[in-house]
């Protein structure tokens, strides 16, 4: 009995202690809990993340939008692959986005997102991303979070050293990974050496509206071009590319392209290239490439086939390109925020190599050459090298910067991120990743102004990190706090496809500009219907055009008769809503395409070819209101020889 009493008293005291502490915590934000990783990534219900992260969807072809530090997934933006959810590549409006010189391609391999910049600082206007397989660059408008432009890159194959953005978004670069015959032709593969070429493409970006155009290509020797980084600040005007396979092997590259002690970083002086262009030192080559543009005004895309490209030959244009010897098949190519150091990670080297831009300029001036390759001077390694981080780990890949004098490099083989100091090359800290990290991202970490608070590591292998989901598991990303001397692992979250690279940006630079709906008055879609009074159905031969509207919660018209087997029925559907977050969908039984998901004020088109007589229902796919289940309608389909006249109605009117 006495024991029970004591227990009650102890419990009482503990309860009071608990209440008093929780009382205090609700008042102020201090306390031991503050230091926990959980609290630092916790974004309370209804509150916003501090950063957007645009994470590549890799072989899904898309781009994922996450919040940091929570890791929450907000949206998947379809870019290079069709998406039934959003009707991307399925509706008539977006089909032209996936046109190429090879025809309509429903899939792509998305690799590296990179953000537009002004004066070397990310500005939140556009996100660019490359497609590796069928070489293309896409531009995503960050007011609508939609893909608005895709340009195909001719003479390229494996568009991997792409799409990095210069200080003022003058250019987005698209470098080929694979060398190919230029122009393409039927020839023996073992004639590779000396005959294949690597095209480095400079895509010009209109500073006002972001519109992309193919300005020029530099036809480089037939190496593999792996990664690229524009010069920053003092090195603005230059572009740096890592190369491998300077051996020019065309088979069993894992052995034959690893023979030489050093490959190159190719330094391209694009300001010089502009001079040569102005002086007319280019050749115009016949090519074919698609340029696809989506307009918000018409909610529709057009595809144009372009016919020529202007090409510069560096072997006869002095001062355009120099080679910087760099150890062992370098992969990552990263320039620090000051523009002084060009950091390269030799995949097969134990060291991370940093070249000096200042030394490079001096070496060029002093003609400190160590031979040449196809007429391009090779600078002496000693003349350009600034230093090396010695044996920091195994399999170095990519480097980003925090703006405080530190660099962070990923190590694929030893599964870790290593923090080191620029200039002294000393290792400060290392933290494991789970597992086999590829790229890493610090918001703004490849620009002049990094926002050095978080580091996102993107891993290639996941294994046992999450609940198993059969043989195929997602890839994982890990978030580290990099505000202190030592990095701290905060969070581990799943990603879509393979997140090769990501681009992060403070949410404040984007969220105020995010569009909430499209104004009906500004809708110039040729089949837009702006009021129920204007709805109609028009027959043109075997094509039947339904001018339809949708609003909570009905279609107008919702009863249609007079359609016949063998007709091509176009549902041109306009969402009349003018409020935030009120999309409506439409799906038609038996249509050989996806649903439509239509934003307020937008018009989209679904094509249906009925094959059987009957009365066929359609309905709204997006739960829009309490009466969403009532949002439905019927189309009567009669035999081909029927005399039923075309008619349409809503509520008998």
């Amino acid at each position: 009995m006495r024991k029970t009493n004591k227990l009650i008293v102890v419990m009482f005291i503990m309860t009071i202690a608990f209440i008093v502490t929780s009382c205090k915590q609700s008042g102020s934000n201090s306390g031991a809990l503050n230091n926990s990783a959980a609290e630092r990534v916790f974004v309370a219900p209804g509150e916003y993340d501090e950063f957007y992260a645009f994470v590549s969807g890799g072989f899904s072809g898309q781009l994922a939008v996450h919040g940091l530090p929570s890791g929450r997934l907000f949206k998947i933006i379809p870019v290079f692959s069709v998406d039934g959810e959003k009707a991307y590549g399925f509706n008539e409006e977006t089909k032209p986005m996936l046109e190429t010189s090879y025809g309509f391609i429903p899939w792509g391999d998305a690799h590296h997102p990179d953000l537009s910049q002004t004066n070397g600082v990310i500005d939140g206007r556009w996100c660019f991303i490359n497609e590796n397989n069928t070489p293309r660059i896409a531009r995503i408008d960050l007011t609508t979070f939609e893909t608005v432009e895709i340009i195909e890159i001719p003479n390229s194959a494996g568009n991997h050293s792409s799409p990095y953005v210069t200080d003022n978004t003058e250019y987005v670069v698209a470098g080929t990974r694979f060398a190919v015959p230029v122009p393409q032709r039927d020839m023996s593969i073992d004639q590779y050496k000396g005959n294949f070429k690597g095209a480095m493409t400079f895509v010009k970006v209109d500073p006002e509206n972001g519109s992309m155009s193919l300005e020029f290509q530099i036809l480089m020797p037939g190496f593999d071009y792996d990664k690229a980084h524009p010069g920053r600040g003092k090195s603005h005007g230059w572009f740096f590319f890592t190369t491998y396979n300077v051996e020019e092997a065309n088979s069993l590259l894992e052995v034959n392209a690893s023979q030489r002690d050093k490959d190159f970083i190719a330094a391209i002086n694009w300001k010089k290239a502009e001079e040569y262009m102005k002086a007319g030192k280019f050749k115009t080559m016949p090519v074919r490439y698609a340029h696809n543009v989506y307009e918000d005004a018409t909610h529709s895309a057009t595809s144009t086939m372009k016919k020529t490209v202007r090409v510069l030959d560096p072997s006869v244009l002095p001062g355009l390109v120099y080679f910087l010897p760099t150890p062992k098949s370098p992969h990552g190519c990263d320039v620090d925020p000051t523009g002084e150091y060009i950091v390269a990670s030799g995949k097969l080297s134990a060291n991370v190599t940093a070249h000096s831009f200042t030394k490079m300029l001096k070496a060029i001036e002093d003609k400190a050459f160590d031979g040449e390759a196809y007429g391009i001077p090779i600078l002496s390694f000693e003349a350009v090298n600034a230093g090396s981080v010695v044996q920091p780990g195994l399999g170095p890949l990519h480097t980003e910067f925090d703006g405080k004098g530190y660099a962070y490099t990923t190590f694929f083989i030893s599964s870790e991120v290593v923090k080191w100091k620029l200039g002294t090359w000393e290792v400060i800290d290392r933290k494991p990743t789970y597992y086999s990290v590829g790229h890493l991202m610090i918001p703004g970490g490849n620009s002049q102004k990094p926002f050095g608070k978080y580091l996102l590591a993107m891993n290639k292998i996941t294994k046992d990190r999450y609940l198993p989901t059969g043989p195929e598991v997602c890839q994982s990303a890990q978030l580290y706090d990099i505000t202190g001397e030592k990095m701290e692992l905060l969070l581990d979250f799943p990603t879509m496809g393979e997140p090769h690279y990501a681009a992060g940006i403070p949410a404040d630079l984007i969220k105020a500009n995010s569009k909430k709906f499209f104004k009906l008055e500004e809708n110039n879609h040729p089949y837009a219907t702006k009021s129920e009074a204007a709805t109609k159905v028009v027959r043109k031969g075997r094509d039947v055009h339904i001018y339809m509207t949708m609003i909570r919660s009905h279609f107008a018209p919702d009863n249609i008769e007079g359609v016949k087997v063998g007709d091509r029925v176009y549902f041109h559907v306009t969402n009349l809503e003018q409020d935030y977050d009120v999309p409506h969908g439409i799906a038609m039984i038996g249509a050989n395409t996806s649903e439509l998901l239509i934003m307020p004020g937008q018009t989209e088109t679904l094509v249906w070819q009925p094959t059987k007589p009957g009365v066929w229902p359609f309905y709204c796919t997006d739960f829009c209101s309490a009466l969403h289940q009532e949002m439905q309608g019927y189309v009567r389909v009669s035999p081909r020889n029927s005399n039923i006249k075309l008619s349409w109605s809503l509520d008998g009117e």
Binding site: F12, T15, I19, S531, I551, Q578, D579, A626, L627, D651
Partner: protein, 169 residues
């Protein structure tokens, strides 16, 4: 022992009160009387951008004409004049509600159907929420003139319109 436990409980109760008791008794009383914290003006004239009584003159026929166009484009999908559809018949709205209420309902329907007692009652009746068409104040004023015009016409011609409530009183 029982007494000790009771005392402890009483003590705990006081601590709890102290923890949460920042609001004055006055506030509490107000909250009970008016659960949404609306002012008398808001009860009568709705919640939204129109916060003062407006002066109405004779019906402005020119504005009413523009209002009719907006009505056909933006309102007709859910509202007829004399027939209940998705929303209530609009023939006599201008007789039923104050002008300020009508403007606030057009311009701020989300809050009106969440916080205003009449707006909430209407949502319960029709279940489909009044949609925000993002009209300007000028467009809403033109609609108001149109609603005043059709109400006048209805009275003159003895037009019968569907009542507002079918499921409630």
């Amino acid at each position: 022992m029982k007494r000790v436990v009771v005392l402890m409980m009483a003590g705990l109760f006081i601590i709890f009160l102290g923890c949460g008791g920042e609001k004055s008794a006055d506030d509490q009383a107000k909250k009970i009387a008016n659960p949404n914290g609306l002012t008398d003006f808001e009860i009568e004239n709705g919640i939204g951008p129109v916060k003062e009584k407006i002066q109405l003159g004779e019906i402005n026929v020119e504005m009413a004409k523009k209002g009719e166009e907006t009505f056909i484009g933006k309102c007709a999908p859910c509202h007829k004049l004399d027939k209940r559809l998705v929303g209530p018949a609009q023939r006599y709205t201008a007789d039923r509600r104050t002008p300020e209420y009508i403007l606030n309902m057009i311009l701020n329907p989300d809050e009106m159907t969440k916080r205003h007692p009449t707006g909430k009652k209407m949502l319960a009746e029709y279940l489909a929420p009044m949609t925000n068409m993002n009209l300007t104040l000028d467009q809403a004023k033109e609609l108001l003139e149109y609603l005043r015009l059709v109400a006048k016409e209805g009275r003159e011609k003895n037009i019968v319109a569907d009542p507002v409530y079918r499921n409630q009183k």
